[in-house]
């Protein structure tokens, strides 16, 4: 093929997005438009979707530079609720730190932290009813913790031990907790988005009052499932909340590879005729308020909402990732929206409802709580130490009943176990 230009036409050029800062680069976030807290209007929850479109390009913020809650989006939570929110986020972080260490110590194969993003799971969980169904991605462990799911059970799953309710079948952190209305996590990105819509449609078909909420990273909005979900949700006016956690990074790819150079992720709502909100994802009160708004809207049959949580993935993508290979280490420290736990802590202190001493004492207590839970879970075994589920369980739940071919294969697996490990007594 000839590459010579026809006539005087300029050569076309391919634009490949490039993040602003690579390893070693100084970081300057002055290009980010950080709005003034309290200045964003709060439309009525039953408004037409188009009324929210300015908010898709704005940034809803409640906590101001003096750590005060201001403006129409202030959810006006009492001090007790704020302390519970703070404690839940701090517990989530303590849990992440301990599990990360556990992976490094070889107790399990894999872990993913949500450091810096705790507000985007804990605050929505608190704003939803406990029986609203959530369809999370892999970075919303804060929902389970907020809903009081036992952290021992979470660790059993991470360690794939004999007490793991998922019987060691799932990669660590791919929790499933029906009793907490927490849908089974899939490794396949974005698949939960249309599923949440289907659940919400089912709730509407049955005349229920429950709604669905789902989470996705900004990178995964590029999947076709995102488009399908948004289309179905608006076509059927499904009672569902779509959360996009825009933490700027999809493993090593910055948000520009999902389209962030041209518009916001909240603005995706505009084209579907859906309500959209873009919130400071490190402001737990703004996140709570946005979820409360969207939940009220969905519950009153006014339709779905897309919420972009503008935040930052403070740690590596997973225990298998080293972010030092692709981004500047200064990004985290320079991030202009700060840290969600620190911001809520300072807010409570400003209210006279908390102190640095109380916070330090709480952190020590939570570390101890996680340590005790970890020891408890380790009694059930850690990965690779043999205290796993019996071999026959590998063949169960593929179908409701075992067809002949799985019965045959189950017998084969148990036979192989007897050959390889004759000392093991259980099936």
């Amino acid at each position: 093929m000839s590459t010579s230009a026809r006539g005087n036409l300029p050569s076309l050029s391919l634009h490949v997005p490039e993040p602003r800062f690579r390893p070693g680069d100084p970081v300057n976030y002055s290009h980010l438009q950080i709005t003034v807290a309290g200045e964003q209007p709060r439309p009525d929850e039953g408004c037409v979707a188009a009324d929210t479109h300015p908010l898709c390009l704005d940034l809803v913020r409640v906590l101001d530079d003096d750590d005060r809650a201001v403006g129409p989006w202030d959810p006006k939570l009492d001090a007790e609720t704020l302390r519970r929110m703070l404690r839940t986020m701090a517990l989530t972080r303590a849990f992440d730190d301990r599990m990360y260490r556990g992976q490094r110590q070889g107790k399990t194969s894999f872990y993913m932290k949500c450091t810096g993003e705790e507000a985007s799971s804990v605050a929505p969980a608190m704003a939803l009813a406990d029986d609203d169904m959530v369809f999370p991605s892999y970075r919303q462990q804060g929902i389970l913790i907020a809903r009081g799911y036992p952290i021992v059970e979470m660790i059993n799953q991470i360690y794939s031990n004999r007490a793991d309710k998922l019987k060691g079948r799932q990669l660590p952190i791919m929790y499933s907790a029906r009793e907490a209305s927490f849908f089974t996590i899939s490794g396949n990105l974005a698949t939960q988005y249309p599923q949440a819509v289907g659940w919400a449609m089912a709730s509407a078909i049955k005349g229920d009052t429950r709604i669905a909420a789902t989470w996705i990273g900004e990178g995964s909005t590029a999947e076709g499932d995102f488009h399908s979900a948004m289309t179905f949700a608006t076509v059927y006016n499904a009672p569902v909340i779509f959360n996009v956690v825009n933490n700027q990074w999809a493993i090593s790819s910055f948000s520009g590879f999902a389209g962030a150079e041209r518009t916001t992720f909240a603005a995706r709502a505009i084209g579907y005729g859906m309500a959209g909100l873009r919130v400071d994802g490190n402001d737990p009160l703004a996140v709570y308020a946005a979820t409360e708004w969207a939940a009220n809207r969905a519950r009153s049959n006014a339709g779905p909402t897309l919420i972009e949580h503008f935040t930052y993935r403070a740690e590596g993508h997973s225990t298998s990732d080293d972010p030092g290979q692709y981004r500047s280490a200064h990004e985290r420290e320079e991030w202009p929206l700060g840290d969600p736990i620190n911001r809520l802590k300072k807010h409570l202190i400003a209210l006279g409802e908390w102190s640095e001493d109380q916070h330090a004492a709480m952190d020590r207590e939570l570390m101890e709580q996680v340590k005790v839970a970890t020891k408890e879970a380790e009694k059930n075994g850690i990965l690779g130490h043999g205290l796993h589920h019996p071999f026959h369980t590998m063949f169960e739940d593929v179908f409701e009943d075992l067809p002949w071919h799985l019965q045959e294969q189950s017998r084969q697996a148990i036979h192989e176990r007897r050959v390889k490990w004759p000392e093991w007594k259980d099936g």
Partner: protein, 351 residues
């Protein structure tokens, strides 16, 4: 022809003659009536009643929240069905042609098939994906495919292909009641009448065929049970869907005493019926319309070889579509019709 699994009381049940579309419509109607959690959805299935009329009248009878049209998005159709199943509904989504099921494949393979397993039974996908399937209708590349092997290869999916109105109704009812995800492929070539492969001869409508006699009301045919279409001793024919009729016609024309088995369910397979037959006849002919390489026939051939080796008196014969996309003008050159099947029969007979 006997149906061992048909309850005795049904022998007395009034019957009607239905074509396959009417039988499918009847099954949907009965299940929607019996179970308020059954919902039907898909492209053009609502007001219009489906491009093949399989859902005609259902929306009027059961209302829009239970029978509704969807956006043109197979990924969305399957994805929302998974979510509905997680809620507790029993969705019956339609994919307009099996050729267009691929955008929904991730939701089927990664989600529906594995929901029960990965959640240790906390969540299930009790859905039945109906989809017109197979060629012989000048459908060209994208209205003729038989992609069953893509689904039989997926742990956690059941795959069903009926070949008569009687079976279509009973199997569809069983599929909808089944708590596992079922891919229900409907051979569109035989919606209106059985097709014997002699495309240049007039087509007989279902009304002249014994298998169009369908009991009224509820009955089900268990998944995983094959049907012996014709007992015989010369060799065993393993087929499903349209090819049951084609194989039977060629055997009849050749006057061979073949035992013809309609597998009906591919996964789980009725291995006992297959083994028993091949042990008796010592020879096996496998027929499907799908392409040959890695087709379901390869699995059948391997199973028969492994399990009936010492009874086999001839190489297993596999008659299939060619390893090409389904052509338009050369459809009857592609289709595994009387010549291809007949030559395989001759080889088996002489062996």
């Amino acid at each position: 022809m006997t149906y061992e699994e048909t309850p005795v009381s049904l022998a007395e049940a009034p019957t009607r003659r239905l074509n396959m579309i009417e039988a499918i419509n009847d099954a949907l109607d009965i299940m929607m009536e019996r179970d308020p959690n059954v919902v039907v959805m898909g492209e053009d299935v609502g007001y219009f009643g489906g491009v093949f009329r399989a859902t005609a009248g259902l929306q009027k009878k059961y209302g829009k929240p239970r029978v509704f049209d969807t956006p043109i998005s197979e990924c969305g159709i399957i994805g929302v069905a998974v979510g509905m199943g997680a809620y507790g509904l029993r969705p019956v989504p339609e994919i307009q042609f099996a050729d267009y099921i691929y955008p929904g494949l991730d939701q089927l393979v990664s989600e529906a098939a594995r929901l029960r397993y990965r959640s240790a039974g906390e969540f299930i996908a009790p859905m039945t994906v109906r989809s017109p399937f197979g060629g012989g209708i000048f459908g060209g590349q994208t209205h003729s495919q038989s992609p069953e092997a893509l689904f039989t290869h997926v742990a956690g999916l059941k795959t069903v292909v009926p070949s008569t109105p009687h079976d279509a109704k009973g199997l569809l009812i069983a599929a909808i009641e089944d708590n596992d995800p079922v891919i229900f492929f409907e051979p569109k070539r035989i919606y209106n009448g059985p097709f014997n492969g002699y495309y240049d001869k007039p087509v007989e409508p279902w009304s002249k065929h014994a298998d169009s006699v369908v009991p009224e009301g509820y009955y089900s045919i268990p998944l995983g049970k094959a049907r012996i279409v014709r007992p015989g001793n010369a060799f065993t024919v393993l087929a499903y869907g349209t090819m049951v009729h084609v194989a039977a016609a060629v055997c009849a024309e050749k006057g061979v005493d073949a035992e013809i088995i309609d597998l009906r369910t591919l996964v789980p397979l009725d291995i006992a019926t297959v083994e028993k037959s091949v042990e008796k006849t010592g020879k096996c002919l496998i027929v499907h319309e799908a392409t040959r390489t890695s087709g379901f026939g390869a699995e059948l051939s391997a199973l028969v070889q492994e399990r009936c080796f010492y009874h086999l008196e001839a190489p297993i014969e596999r008659v299939t579509g060619f390893d090409t996309p389904y052509p338009h003008s050369l459809e009857w050159a592609y289709f595994p019709g009387p010549v291809r099947i007949g030559e395989a029969i001759d080889r088996l007979t002489k062996a």
